[in-house]
């Protein structure tokens, strides 16, 4: 019988006390001696050559300590494509791109200085739609694309706007379409949106005269920040220390490198004083990274019995001005393109296209919410074309264990079950029940959508953990993964307490990340944290126990195999004289005569992703997935046919998470993800004018869900088919909760109104227009 049981319990998050009392520190809460404040002069043009910059008036202003222009910082940064300039160098690539940065004693002085700077531009023709940008003769966003360094799995096309072209070829689609009884083809479209983390991007940088670089930043990936900065600036890594305090939301938008180079370079110019940049909300929309726009064409060939025989997909991504994570989103969406179904013949071209929009980056779901909108709408449309129930149609084609994915991977027995997710959702939403369609003059309908996703990451990514035994028998766990609200550190504390069979109050997880001290992890992204840091943590526990046993074996004169570590002791079961508190071994073991042996106890654990391979550049075949998490979403909506307003009444969700480590935190992930999905389904979109300037760059005009906008009811059903190589069998779910919300709602809108929508957001105007159009068609028929 275990004395302590934490895994599976809703223990309170370990950072909650600090957060409810306001003592949790975020980057903008820090104040360093001598700190300077930054303001940016940004481009008013989408595409223009910089002719002249005159900073002379600004330099005269009292309190201005450094002014930086692009010419002085000729570096290029980028995680997969080295294309990003810190400040625009020869030309600007989008409205809102920083051109000049000023560091001054106060923000007010910096702002005044910015107003005194004059920049002369010569406007260039710009391109705003990814389809236009692919045409012959389109203006080039990056003329020197052919010179850029990039990751080996990214395939840019020199002298075009194509930053990456991912190809997937499985079977023979042409033959598949010939076998098909029915072929259905549709187009889908989504605008750029923003992560809208409540904390805007914030960085403090210091480049000391001795070459040491210190950074405090709101980043999801401190080790990637360090690495990319080192590559971009040509500075050795050990000279860079990156500290990440609490993060006020990331959702992918704070992964990789963003404004860290800018503050560091400003600091160098200011003689090593720390320089802070807090993005304004307007800059968070205009200047910093966003989610790519998306266009899809999906052609599906199906037999009358419901078996899909061929699918051809074209995904075009509006990457904006820089490739950032966009090129890898393109790849991840490309290799997952079928959704959770087995299709024998697949052809997918997923293409990242530069435009003169703000630059795209990761946003929770990494391309999967976007393409699932297309593919899960398509599933309903194809089912309808052959007169089959959409649930039955999905189950018929489901990617079950043993089936072959689009990249040729045979799904393992322990891969998780999409069919179980679909079935429980269908049950809980009351699918097929005859219910009145009209309630109080409003139309009601139900829709479902399934989903899958694997962590999108290089094949060899790794994590580590350090577990220290302290002098009083408590333990301290250090990890490199960030706490950004998802709760991974709390779940790891639960695992450590469970494995060591000790009270969780005696387990500390260090909350601050600091690359000089924290163990390495690749990044806090891709829903990989619990799986990878979890495996590293379990390994650290094993090593710590091993060291304890080795020393205790010497002290007791017994073989170490007989020793058990639990309940804050090491002991031989049934032999009370062979037992010792862990505290007594923390720094060294001591023989009765005073001799010491062993040494400070520390478990160093690690984990490297297993079994992944590169994908074939021509066919995309290979093993990209550490694990697949499957799921399904069901929506019940109410549509006001007078106004076009859609209200989500109920959301039902199921994910095969393998194991629920902390049900309370898990529920929080689910609700939060769904509500983000509802935001992009119904209200969020970037609206530009014809010159590429964002018109709704504030939270009045760009609405996100408020408390009044959430569904009346959430039902969440965890499915627990354990993953063999995962800690406690757990799979990642942080992003999945946010996938397939949009198509479930769109499918429900069709059920309610008979109107098909191919574009999001499905805001009042769009729904009202579609209803009106259908009304006209019905009237004229």
């Amino acid at each position: 019988m275990k004395k302590y049981s934490y895994v599976g319990k809703g223990v309170p998050r370990i950072d909650a006390f600090e957060k409810v009392t306001g003592t949790a520190q975020y980057t903008a809460d820090l104040r360093l001696p001598g700190m300077l404040y930054t303001k940016l002069l940004k481009s008013p043009h989408a595409h223009a050559r910089i002719i002249r910059i005159d900073t002379s008036e600004a330099e005269k202003l009292l309190g201005v300590r450094a002014i930086l222009t692009g010419k002085e910082v000729p570096y290029k940064f980028g995680i997969y494509m080295q294309d990003k300039e810190t400040l625009a160098q020869k030309k600007v690539h989008h409205v809102g791109e920083p051109v000049v940065a000023v560091a001054a004693d106060t923000e007010e002085i910096a702002e005044q200085a910015v107003e005194l700077i004059k920049v002369e531009y010569e406007e260039l023709p710009a391109v705003f739609d990814q389809r236009d940008a692919m045409k012959e003769g389109a203006p080039l966003v990056h003329e020197r694309l052919h010179e850029y360094k990039h990751a080996p799995f990214i395939f840019p096309k020199p002298h075009t706007n194509i930053a990456n072209h991912f190809k997937l070829r499985k079977g023979d689609v042409e033959r598949g379409f010939k076998e098909a009884d029915v072929i259905v083809e549709n187009e889908f479209y989504q605008p750029q949106v923003q992560n809208v983390q409540m904390e805007t991007h914030t960085s403090i940088g210091q480049w000391l005269p001795n070459g040491q670089i210190n950074i405090w930043t709101s980043a999801q990936s401190p080790f990637a920040v360090r690495h990319l900065l080192s590559v971009g600036l040509g500075v050795p890594i050990h000279k860079i220390n990156v500290v990440v305090p609490y993060l006020g939301g990331g959702f992918g938008g704070k992964a990789g490198l963003h404004w860290e180079p800018l503050v560091v370079l400003l600091s160098r110019k200011a003689g090593g004083r720390p320089v802070r940049l807090v993005m304004t909300r307007e800059e968070q929309f205009n200047t910093t990274a966003v989610r790519q726009g998306f266009y899809a064409r999906v052609k599906t060939g199906v037999k009358r019995d419901g078996k899909i025989v061929a699918e051809e997909l074209l995904f075009l991504w509006d990457a904006g001005a820089y490739a950032d994570y966009g090129v890898n989103i393109t790849r991840a969406a490309g290799y997952s393109c079928t959704g959770p179904y087995e299709i024998p013949n697949v052809k997918c071209d997923s293409i990242t296209v530069y435009t003169n929009h703000p630059y795209g980056t990761a946003y929770r779901g990494f391309g999967h919410p976007e393409f699932h909108f297309a593919t899960e709408r398509q599933m309903d449309l194809v089912a309808r074309a052959i007169g089959m129930d959409p649930v039955e149609f999905r189950l018929k084609n489901a990617a079950l264990p043993g089936r072959i994915t689009a990249t040729g991977e045979k799904l393992r027995e322990d891969a998780g079950r999409v069919d179980e997710c679909i079935k429980v959702v269908v049950e809980a939403i009351g699918w097929g029940k005859k219910e009145p369609k009209q309630v109080g003059g409003k139309l009601r309908g139900k829709g479902i959508a399934a989903l899958w996703k694997a962590p999108a990451m290089p094949s060899y990514t790794s994590s580590s953990a350090i577990l220290k035994l302290n002098e009083d028998g408590t333990v301290t766990l250090s990890i490199g993964s960030i706490e950004m609200g998802q709760g991974t550190p709390t779940a790891l504390a639960q695992m450590v307490a469970e494995e060591l069979q000790m009270p969780i109050e005696k387990v500390k997880v260090v909350t601050k990340r600091e690359t000089d001290f924290s163990p390495y992890t690749w990044q806090t992204v891709a829903s990989r944290g619990l799986f990878m840091e979890g495996n590293a943590t379990l390994d650290a526990v094993r090593k710590l126990k091993e060291q304890v046993r080795e020393t205790a074996a010497e002290l007791f004169g017994v073989p170490k195999e007989e020793l058990v570590v639990a309940e804050e002791k090491v002991f031989v079961p049934g032999k009370p004289d062979k037992s010792m508190p862990l505290a007594k071994l923390a720094t060294a073991g001591i023989f009765p005569d005073g001799r010491g042996i062993g040494g400070p106890v520390l478990g160093y654990g690690m984990y490297t992703a297993e079994g992944l391979t590169n994908l074939d550049p021509e066919t995309g075949q290979g093993l990209p997935a550490l694990m697949w998490t499957f799921g399904a979403q069901g929506a019940e909506v109410e549509v006001d046919s007078e106004t076009g307003e859609v209200r989500v009444l109920k959301m039902v969700s199921a994910f095969d998470i393998g194991k629920s480590i902390n049900p309370v935190l898990l529920k929080g992930q689910v609700y939060g993800g769904i509500v983000q999905g509802i935001g992009s389904a119904l209200m969020e979109e970037f609206i530009f004018n014809e010159k590429g300037a964002l018109l709704n760059n504030n939270l009045t005009d760009y609405k996100i869900c408020r408390a009044q906008d959430i569904p009346d009811e959430f039902v969440f059903i965890p499915i627990e088919n354990p993953q063999r190589n995962a800690p406690y069998g757990v799979r990642g779910v942080g992003e999945h909760v946010r996938i397939s919300v949009e198509p479930a709602i769109a499918n429900a809108i069709y059920d309610a109104t008979g109107v098909d929508l191919f574009e999001i957001p499905m805001n009042r105007e769009r729904v009202w227009r579609a209803l009106k159009q259908r009304g006209e068609k019905v009237a004229s028929a």
């Binding site: 520190q25 929080g668 993800g673 408390a707 959430f714």
Partner: protein, 157 residues
């Protein structure tokens, strides 16, 4: 810029300060008094994260000038708990899982405290209304609403 002398009470402590006419209450709290629990996320009244209690009333501190609070009483998140002892609302936020990144948490807790003071038994709709001006991108609000409802029950006991 003209400077003004003001005196105010923040979390029960009296302050006498000289402030510029355009300084906001949010700047005064975060920068002059270094009470950084109050967050800034838009500076134009859209997000509600800068909410504090001004004479007990939830107020967006980015929309209030420091000179306007002369002689008044401000409560920030730092003024709620006594040492380790949390208020029922703070406790409920922890128990219900209403906290994720925590950036919005101080604002929601203050709004919850003010609501329960005037309306100890609010309905779900009343809670939604009371927090409707504050944004959270992480939680989906469900557990925040549940926490405030839960605190209203436990406070009665």
């Amino acid at each position: 810029m003209s400077r003004h002398e003001i005196s105010l009470t923040v979390n029960g402590e009296r302050y006498e300060l000289e402030v510029e006419a355009n300084r906001t209450l949010l700047q005064l709290l975060r920068e002059d008094l270094e009470l950084t629990g109050t967050k800034q996320a838009c500076e134009r009244g859209d997000c509600g994260l800068c909410t504090v209690l001004l004479d007990g009333v939830p107020t967006k501190s980015c929309l209030v000038l420091a000179v306007e609070v002369d002689g008044r009483e401000v409560t920030t998140v730092e003024g709620l708990s006594r040492g380790e002892e949390l208020t029922p609302v703070q406790r409920a936020f922890i128990e219900q899982g209403a906290v994720q990144c925590g950036f919005c948490t101080p604002a929601f807790i203050l709004a919850g405290e003010a609501l329960l003071k005037h309306n100890p038994r609010p309905t779900e709709e009343e809670v939604k209304e009371a927090v409707g001006g504050i944004l959270c991108r992480c939680t989906g609000y469900r557990q925040i609403i549940d926490a405030i409802l839960d605190a209203s029950k436990s406070a009665k006991k």
